[in-house]
Amino acid sequence: MGPAVNARVSFSSLTPHNLGTLRKLNTVLFPISYSDRFYEDVLKPEVDEFCKLVYYNDIPVGTICCRIETKGDEFHLYLMTMGVLAVCELRYPFPEYNDSIPTKPYRSRGLGSQSLQQIIEAAKLLNKPKISKIYLHVQISNAEAKKFYEKHGFQEVGIHEKYYKKLVPRDAWIMELTIEQ
């Protein structure tokens, strides 16, 4: 299911000024608090194309944040967080308390797909450095998320045991997508 007719989906870059919005979204979306370092890194110019606020009808409702890692002479894009308001996040298991929110308002509107596709396209276009693959972690209880990533061409390449220290189950799939050169 895609967004309703006339719905406007757009992305905007992160700036020091709209970090407050990112913080707000992260607080609601993820059962984790991010350090100041996280918020400094997402502002770096090299990840400008990979860290975005997602707008639905001009209201910020989601975020996607990546970082670039060096592995030998290769560059990998690591998808740190991705979430759309009250939509089950795909990176971390979505906590129970969100059920108390009256709805999952922005679910099933293709926002996750569009955001991910946006990142994949940007990774393909990047020349310096050349990105060879995109990877991420999914908790093994979250089959739905796994399916979502597979739909977008990601493949499971292994299991990171005891990736989570306190969440159960503790293991995570490692999923990756090779970028064709």
Binding site: K24, P31, F38, I59, R109, K166
Partner: protein, 879 residues
């Protein structure tokens, strides 16, 4: 005329004479340094040559050595009283000091002595500008006429004379001048903008003379010749003229305008009034027309919105539903502000409530099935919550509004409007601290949004956090300004000046409050001075039509709400100081916190450093003579940074009157202004002014509580005067008062009657208590009366409760704390009546960052990207 001032003294030998000519041309080209040297050369031989002394003085003023310069100018005048140059120079200086009347006198003097036969165009032009500034239109006509006679070939001299006639009220002469002028024109090129403006002005004059067919003929011919280039203006004026002529073409002309811009209210109104439709009398027909337009321009908002104003009953409901729904679907944040004006009609108010509630229900995720949720946009639901929250907040149903906002924030926590609405609702409920925090939440979402920044600063000031507000404002002000406030004052930010003034006033720092109100007054003085250059510029550029509008605007300048607010607030303080001079010498810091005192000390130090630096610079100036032109305007010097001079003024009433006087004509229908005028006038013993203000206020609203207090005050005031007011004023005053309140009625009876008429109005009870106090009732009796406002049946809001509290403080009641405790219990949401200790804690709480920003949580363990495995740990901790 003194002997020294006669012509022989002015004589210079050829060498010096040519030097003097050189001096004049050096001044014209603003080569100040050379000019100064040349002047000194002459003065070496002729140290008493008046004209040279004046020119030297003038040059010095331009160079920033004002005092020295002015002294020379004065000396120069004494040396040569019959020289037109010295008077011209003096006029320039006075103009720079904004002393327009004095400057005009000097110029008139200069013209008398201009031996070349009043041919000094510069002098005359300056005189004309001064006369316009002073609105001396008869003199202006003479001056403009002289200028035209001297140089009839200059186009602007014709226009200027026509405008002068126009301003003096003589439209017929204005028309004559324009006609004569047009006769002199030859070969005007097409598309000449200046000529076009002049023709439009000519049409305007004809229209104002009600010579409509002549106006239309001129317009049509000029439009056809492509002499008038402003196409929109042609269409608008044409439609108006055709309507006035009752022509059949008029309907079409208005229709063309609507097609030209379907979002302009005036065109629809023009169309309808041309059809003879009075919107109030024939709404049905008007609605039919608007419906047609709506079909023709489905995207236009104006016909739909205008229909809402006209329709009623079921028809209104039918129109309002799609209007609201489409706005909520589009996510138009201003919907509530847009329709709020219709709330004066209770039926419409209820309609909006019903419509929005039903949209909320229809789009609510609780009712809509999961599969259909895609067809209804989540944002429609969100905006309906926002609309309803504003609606209930407006209706003072604060708890309901806040609940809706909580729901909306759980749904989408990233929409700033939800936080600003929450802030406004809390503010209305009297929770100034919670309001400030909510507004800061909004600001944190988008630090680049100056609107949110300004709002958050304003809400901090409302919570008494002035320095903290300043810190926020500083994010957007010039970095090299001495303080954010100084920059905002320079930028003429009226909102800032008023809010900070009010914040100081509430905290009892009357000196600083007066300081800010005085700054508002200065801004308006500047606005008034700013028009000066346009008296020349606009005529030179032929932008006559808009210029006439500007003059009219300037004439009503001080009817601006910000001016009125500042004038009222300041005059009330001055009246209080007059009544209780101890206020001026008392604790000027009010209830300043330590931090505030510290900041003040710091500000004082900074100010002193600045002054020292300025002094140093001034001391250094004479040695570094530059060509830099500092102009003739007196730079603003703040010799009263703390407002202590304002506070300790020996004549507070005179200062108050100066503020109120422009309002006697500009705000005649503002009852608060009239009451302030009474308060000042009666204390200045201007009995007629006082009586007039009372009579006028009574005509506006005879039951107005504050007016009641004054009526009794006036009668009481007269009765305790040791001697009656002498005629002719006295009898008139008594007579006017008698008309307002018959002398047979005892004031005590009158007061208790007033109270009985509105027994459940807190405003009335307060007024009755104030009146009792005026009549000398014992403190306890007044207090007892005041405490009746706490009864359940009395309608009391936070605003009135605050007024009641300050009245108790003013009469030095010992029961203020008791009142505050009761009020605090009554207004559960409000923080306005907390104890000082509680308030101090609240102020701290406002400034703590919310959980939504990181500070509470950062730093607890490694960053997620440092070590992925740590993520789970962190997550486990914070869940």
């Amino acid at each position: 005329m003194s002997k020294r001032g006669t012509t022989p003294n002015r004589f210079l030998p050829p060498k010096e004479s040519s030097l003097f000519k050189e001096l004049l041309s050096l001044y014209e080209t603003k080569q100040l340094k050379k000019g100064l040297k040349t002047a000194d050369q002459i003065l070496k031989k002729y140290p008493e040559h008046g004209e040279t002394l004046c020119m030297k003085g003038l040059v010095l003023v331009h160079m920033g050595r004002r005092e020295e310069g002015i002294e020379l100018v004065r000396k120069g005048i004494r040396m040569d009283l019959a020289s037109h140059i010295v008077w011209h120079v003096f006029g320039l200086i006075q103009k720079g000091e904004k002393k327009y009347e004095d400057a005009l006198k000097s110029y008139t003097q200069a013209l008398r002595f201009d031996k070349i036969g009043q041919e000094n165009m510069n002098l005359l032009r300056d005189v004309a500008q001064l006369q316009t500034q002073l609105r001396l239109y008869d003199g202006l006509v003479e001056t403009r006429y002289m200028l035209l006679r001297l140089r009839p070939t200059a186009r602007q001299n014709w226009i200027a004379l026509a405008v002068a006639y126009h301003l003096s009220g003589n439209l017929a002469e204005a028309k004559k001048v324009l006609v004569e002028y047009e006769k002199t024109l030859k070969n005007v090129p097409h598309y000449d903008v200046e000529h076009s403006e002049m023709l439009l002005y000519h049409v305007r004059v004809l229209e104002e003379l009600e010579q409509h067919s002549e106006a239309l003929a001129l317009l049509d011919v000029s439009a056809k010749d492509r002499a008038i280039v402003d196409k929109t203006a042609i269409m608008e004026v044409r439609a108006r003229l055709l309507s006035k002529l009752k022509s059949d073409e008029a309907e079409h002309a208005w229709k063309v305008l609507v097609e030209h811009n379907p979002e302009c209210y005036d065109y629809y109104k023009g169309y309808m009034s041309n059809q003879g439709l009075n919107i109030d009398e024939n709404p049905a027909e008007a609605l039919a027309i608007l419906r047609e337009f709506s079909t023709q321009f489905p995207k236009a908002n104006v016909p739909r919105r205008l229909s809402l104003s006209l329709a009623s009953g079921e028809e209104f409901q039918a129109l309002a539903e799609p209007y609201v729904l489409s706005a909520l679907k589009k996510g138009i944040p201003s919907l509530f502000v847009d329709v709020k004006s219709l709330y004066t009609d209770p039926a419409k108010l209820k309609s909006f409530e019903d419509i929005a509630e039903s949209i909320r229900k229809d789009t609510s995720p609780d009712t809509s099935v999961a599969s259909s949720s895609v067809s209804t946009e989540p944002t429609t639901y969100l905006w309906s919550l926002y609309f309803l929250a504003q609606h209930y907040s407006y209706l003072s149903q604060y708890a309901k509004a806040l609940e809706l906002l909580d729901l909306a924030l759980a749904h989408t926590p990233t929409l700033p409007e939800l936080y600003t609405c929450r802030a406004r609702t809390l503010k209305r409920a009297g929770d100034f601290h919670g309001a400030s925090r909510a507004m800061e939440d909004a600001r944190l979402l988008d630090g680049q949004d100056r609107f949110l920044n300004t709002k958050s600063a304003k809400y901090r000031m409302r919570a008494g956090l002035i320095d903290e507000a300043s810190a926020l404002l500083g994010l957007f002000t010039k970095k090299d300004a001495s303080s954010p406030g100084a920059d905002l004052e320079e930028m003429q930010s009226l909102f800032y000046l008023l809010e900070e003034g009010d914040a100081h006033r509430r905290a009892g720092r009357l000196n600083l409050a007066l300081k800010k109100y005085a700054a508002v007054q200065r801004v308006f003085d500047d606005y008034e001075d700013d028009q000066y250059d346009f008296h020349g510029y606009s005529l030179r550029k032929f932008t006559v039509n808009i210029y006439l509008n500007v003059l009219d605007w300037e004439d009503h300048l001080r009817s601006h709400p910000s001016y009125i607010k500042a004038a009222l607030a300041a005059s009330r303080i001055y009246v209080d100081i007059f009544d209780d001079p101890k206020l001026a010498s008392g604790n000027v810091d009010g209830d300043a916190t330590d931090a505030e005192k510290k900041a003040k000390k710091k500000a004082k130090k900074a100010q002193k450093e600045k002054e020292d630096a300025a002094k140093k610079a001034a001391a250094a100036a004479p040695t570094t003579s530059t060509n830099e032109d500092k102009g003739l305007d007196v730079p603003y010097k703040d010799d009263d940074p703390d407002g202590m001079k304002l506070l300790s003024t020996p004549e507070p009433l005179e200062l108050a009157w100066k503020l109120l006087q422009p309002l006697t004509t500009l705000a005649q229908n503002n009852i608060e202004v009239l009451i302030a005028i009474y308060d000042v006038a009666i204390r200045r013993r201007k009995y007629l002014q006082a009586a007039q203000a009372l009579a006028r206020a009574r005509a506006l609203d005879s039951e107005y509580p504050d007016l009641h207090v004054r009526i009794v005050h006036a009668r009481h005031f007269v009765s305790i005067l040791p001697e009656p007011i002498p005629p002719p004023v006295g009898p008139i005053f008594i007579e006017t008062l008698g008309k307002i309140l018959s002398e047979d009625v005892s004031l005590e009876t009158y007061n208790s009657q007033f109270l009985q008429n509105h027994p459940t109005s807190a405003q009335t009870i307060l007024a009755a208590a104030q009146t009792s106090r005026v009549l000398g009732a014992p403190l306890q009796e007044v207090e007892d009366l005041i405490f009746t406002t706490l009864r359940d049946e009395v309608q009391l809001d936070v605003k009135t409760a605050l007024e009641i509290s300050s009245f108790l403080k003013k009469i030095k009641s010992s029961r203020v704390n008791e009142l505050h405790q009761a009020l605090d219990a009554k207004f559960t949401l409000s923080t306005a009546f907390k104890t000082p200790d509680e308030l101090a804690k609240l102020r701290e709480w406002v400034l703590t960052t919310n959980s939504n920003s990181s500070s509470e949580r950062t730093g607890n363990g490694a960053a997620p990207m440092e070590n992925e495995a740590e993520l789970g740990k962190e997550a486990g901790e914070s869940v």
